[in-house]
C-alpha cells in the first residue's frame, strides 16, 4: 500500500504525521520525502545515508553545423526553450520541460539530448525502514521532474515493493502536489480547523478527487479554531481519521526535530489508531486484491 500525506495549506503537520507514522507502522516501510523544494522528513528521521546522487533531465543540444534553421523545433516547443534569432539558434535550458519533442522531430537530426541538473536523490535507512528523498537544486524551477526521478529510482531499486510506502508530499494542490499523490492507494489530508485550513482542504479535495483513491482527514491542532472543518468533512463524506489536539509539548518537540509519537508518549495511541484507520481505508481502495489474498 502507498500512503501519501498531503495538504493544501503548508505547515499543517504533514511531516509531523509522516515521521510518526513511519515510526509506529507495524512493519518496515519505505519513507519517501517528495517535498523536494523544502524537504524536512530527514530532519526528523535522521536516516543513515547510503547514497546521494545527482538527478538530471534531458534538454536539447544543437549541432550548429547540421541545423539548417528550418524552425521545426521552435514551432513545436511549447515552453519557449529554443529560439532562432536571425541565423543564431539559442536554447534556454531553464525553460525546457525535457519532453524530447525537438530532437524527435528534427528532420536534420541536429539536436541531441544533453542534460540539466535537477537536484539530488538521497537514499538511506531509518532503523529497519528504507528512506528516500529528493532535494531540488536551488534555482531550479521545476520540481515534478525530480519527483519522477525519485520515484523511478525507487522502482528500479525496490522492484515490486512488498513494503508499504509512506510519502511526505509538498503543500499546495497544483502539479507538484498531484505528482506526489497520484500513485497513492490512500491519501491522508492534514489540515487545521481554521478558515485557511478549511479553504485549502476543500481545494485539495477537488484536486485529488480525479485520482479516484480513498481520502481521509487528520485535523491537527484540532481544538484551536472552529468546527467548520468537521462540518465540511461530514457534508462531503470525508472521513476524519484522527484529531491531534494542540499541546505545547507537541509544538516544542516538533521545534526540536523530534518524532512526536516517540517524544510525547500521550500522543502515541493517536498514531496507533491512525495506522489502523489508514489500513482499513486502504482496503477499500483495492477490494479485489483483498479477496485474492483471502
Amino acid at each position: 500500500m502507498i500512503i501519501a500525506v498531503a495538504s493544501g495549506k503548508g505547515g499543517t503537520g504533514k511531516t509531523t504525521l509522516t515521521s510518526s507514522l513511519v515510526s509506529v507502522w507495524p512493519s518496515p516501510v519505505v519513507a519517501v520525502d517528495l517535498d523536494v523544494e523544502e524537504p524536512n522528513l530527514h530532519l526528523f528521521l535522521q536516516p543513515e545515508v547510503d547514497s546521494e546522487t545527482s538527478a538530471y533531465m534531458e534538454i536539447p543540444e544543437i549541432d550548429d553545423e547540421r541545423c539548417n534553421r528550418c524552425r521545426a523545433c521552435t514551432d513545436i516547443c511549447q515552453f519557449k526553450a529554443i529560439g532562432i534569432f536571425g541565423k543564431v539558434v539559442m536554447t534556454f535550458p531553464e525553460m525546457c520541460h525535457g519532453c524530447g519533442a525537438c530532437w524527435t522531430i528534427c528532420p536534420e537530426k541536429a539536436i541531441t539530448p544533453g542534460r540539466r541538473e535537477l537536484g539530488h536523490i538521497v537514499t538511506g535507512r531509518f532503523r529497519t525502514s528504507d528512506f528516500a528523498m529528493g532535494r531540488l537544486r536551488v534555482g531550479e524551477a521545476m520540481s515534478p521532474p525530480l519527483m519522477r526521478a525519485v520515484k523511478h529510482h525507487l522502482n528500479s531499486t525496490h522492484g515490486q515493493p512488498s513494503r508499504d510506502m509512506i510519502i511526505d508530499a509538498p503543500p499546495g494542490v497544483s502539479c507538484p502536489a498531484i505528482n506526489a499523490v497520484m500513485d497513492a492507494d490512500v491519501i491522508v489530508l492534514v489540515t487545521e480547523p481554521t478558515p485557511f485550513g478549511l479553504y485549502d482542504l476543500a481545494l485539495a479535495q477537488k484536486a485529488f478527487a480525479p485520482i479516484g483513491k480513498p481520502m481521509g482527514v487528520v485535523i491537527n491542532r484540532a481544538d484551536i479554531g472552529t468546527r467548520e472543518v468537521h462540518r465540511h468533512c461530514e457534508e462531503t463524506g470525508l472521513p476524519i481519521l484522527a484529531e491531534i489536539p494542540y499541546q505545547r509539548d507537541i509544538a516544542e518537540a516538533y521545534a526540536r526535530g523530534q518524532i512526536i509519537a516517540e517524544a510525547v508518549p500521550s500522543a502515541r495511541p493517536l498514531f496507533d489508531a491512525l495506522v489502523e484507520r489508514i489500513t482499513a481505508l486502504g482496503k477499500t481502495a483495492n477490494p479485489s486484491e483483498e479477496v485474492c489474498h483471502a
Partner: protein, 300 residues
C-alpha cells in the same frame, strides 16, 4: 514604485497572517496574492471583486477514439507516461505536460490540441486598497506564468492609480511560482519559525533570494517556541548579513483574529497588533535605506 514580497520557504509560518496585517498598516499600495495555488489572503481581506478574467495557458492533448488507428506511436513517444491504455489510448490530463509531441507524431491526425483554461484572476477592492489575486484551478499547472501575469497587472494598476508600493503574499517552497514571484522584486521578507524545519527552509529560500540578488530580511514568528532554534536563526542572520526585522511570540491571538476574518492589527491593536506594527515600521525603514556594503556583498 517598490515591490515587497513576503516569503517563507516552509508553509504555515505566518506569511498570509503578516501580509494581511501589513496591508492594513501600509498606505498608497496595491495588495497582491501570489500564492495562486492555495490563496488565503482574500479570506481575511474579503475584497469585492469587480473583474474576473480567465487565465489560459498551455494546451491539453485529447485523443479522438473514432479517428485513432491504435498504432501506439503516441504511447511510445510520451516521456511522461501520460498516455494510457491501447484500445483506445487515453491521455491522463494529470500527467500530460502539454508538449505536443503526440499531436505532431500521430499519423492519423487523431489528437485534438485544445487551449487549457487553468484558472481565473481577479481585480478587487479591499478595505485596505486595491487587490489583484487569482485561483489556479485545482490540479493545474503553469502557476509561474499566472504569478508573472499578476505581478504585471499589479504594476499596471499601481501606475494607473499613482500608488508606490506593491505588497505581495508569496507561495511556499522554492520552485517555479516562487522564482516567478521573486525575480526582479525590490525586497523579500522571509517569515520563519524557530523549528528545525523552519531553519532548514529559511536557508534554502535565502539561497534563492541571493541567487536572484534580492535584498532580504527575516521575521522570526512564534519566537518563544524554542529559544535555542531562535538564537541559531539570529546567529545565522548575523553571519549572512541578513537584517532581522523583528520577532513575534507564539500567541493564539493570531488564530483568533483569522477566525474573525480580521487582521491581528484590527483584532488586537495593542499587544500583538502593536508588535506587528513595530515590525512593519522596521521593514519600511529598512526598505527606505540603501543596503550597507556588507549586506550587498552577501547578496552577491
Amino acid at each position: 514604485m517598490r515591490e515587497i514580497l513576503i516569503l517563507s520557504g516552509k508553509g504555515g509560518t505566518g506569511k498570509t497572517t503578516l501580509t494581511a496585517a501589513f496591508a492594513h498598516l501600509a498606505s498608497n499600495h496595491v495588495i497582491c496574492d501570489l500564492d495562486v495555488d492555495a490563496p488565503d489572503l482574500h479570506l481575511i481581506l474579503q475584497p469585492d471583486t469587480h473583474s474576473v478574467e480567465p487565465f489560459e495557458s498551455g494546451h491539453e492533448a485529447i485523443i479522438r477514439p473514432e479517428d485513432c488507428e491504435r498504432c501506439g506511436t503516441c504511447l511510445d513517444a510520451c516521456r511522461y507516461d501520460a498516455i494510457q491504455g491501447e484500445d483506445p489510448p487515453v491521455v491522463n490530463p494529470l500527467k500530460c505536460e502539454g508538449c505536443k509531441l503526440c499531436v505532431a507524431l500521430c499519423p492519423a491526425d487523431a489528437i485534438t490540441w485544445s487551449p487549457n483554461h487553468c484558472g481565473d484572476w481577479y481585480q478587487s477592492d479591499s478595505r485596505f486598497g486595491p487587490m489583484v489575486h487569482a485561483q489556479l484551478f485545482p490540479a493545474e499547472e503553469n502557476s509561474g506564468l499566472l504569478v508573472a501575469l499578476l505581478r504585471k497587472q499589479a504594476r499596471a494598476l499601481a501606475e494607473a492609480k499613482g500608488l508606490d508600493l506593491i505588497l505581495s503574499d508569496g507561495p511556499p517552497g522554492i520552485g517555479c511560482p516562487v522564482i516567478a514571484a521573486l525575480s526582479g522584486t525590490d525586497m523579500a521578507v522571509i517569515v520563519t519559525e524557530p523549528t528545525v524545519s523552519g531553519r532548514h527552509d529559511l536557508e534554502r529560500v535565502l539561497e534563492l533570494c541571493h541567487h536572484f540578488k534580492i535584498r532580504t530580511g527575516v521575521i522570526i514568528n512564534k519566537c518563544d517556541l524554542n529559544l535555542d532554534q531562535a538564537n541559531a536563526i539570529k546567529a545565522y542572520c548575523q553571519a549572512h548579513q541578513l537584517p532581522l526585522i523583528g520577532e513575534l511570540p507564539h500567541d493564539r491571538v493570531f488564530t483568533e483574529a483569522m477566525i474573525q476574518g480580521q487582521t491581528v492589527t484590527e483584532f488586537q491593536p495593542e499587544g500583538a497588533g502593536a508588535a506587528v506594527e513595530a515590525i512593519w515600521n522596521n521593514l519600511l525603514k529598512l526598505g527606505a535605506e540603501p543596503a550597507p556594503a556588507e549586506e550587498l556583498a552577501a547578496i552577491g
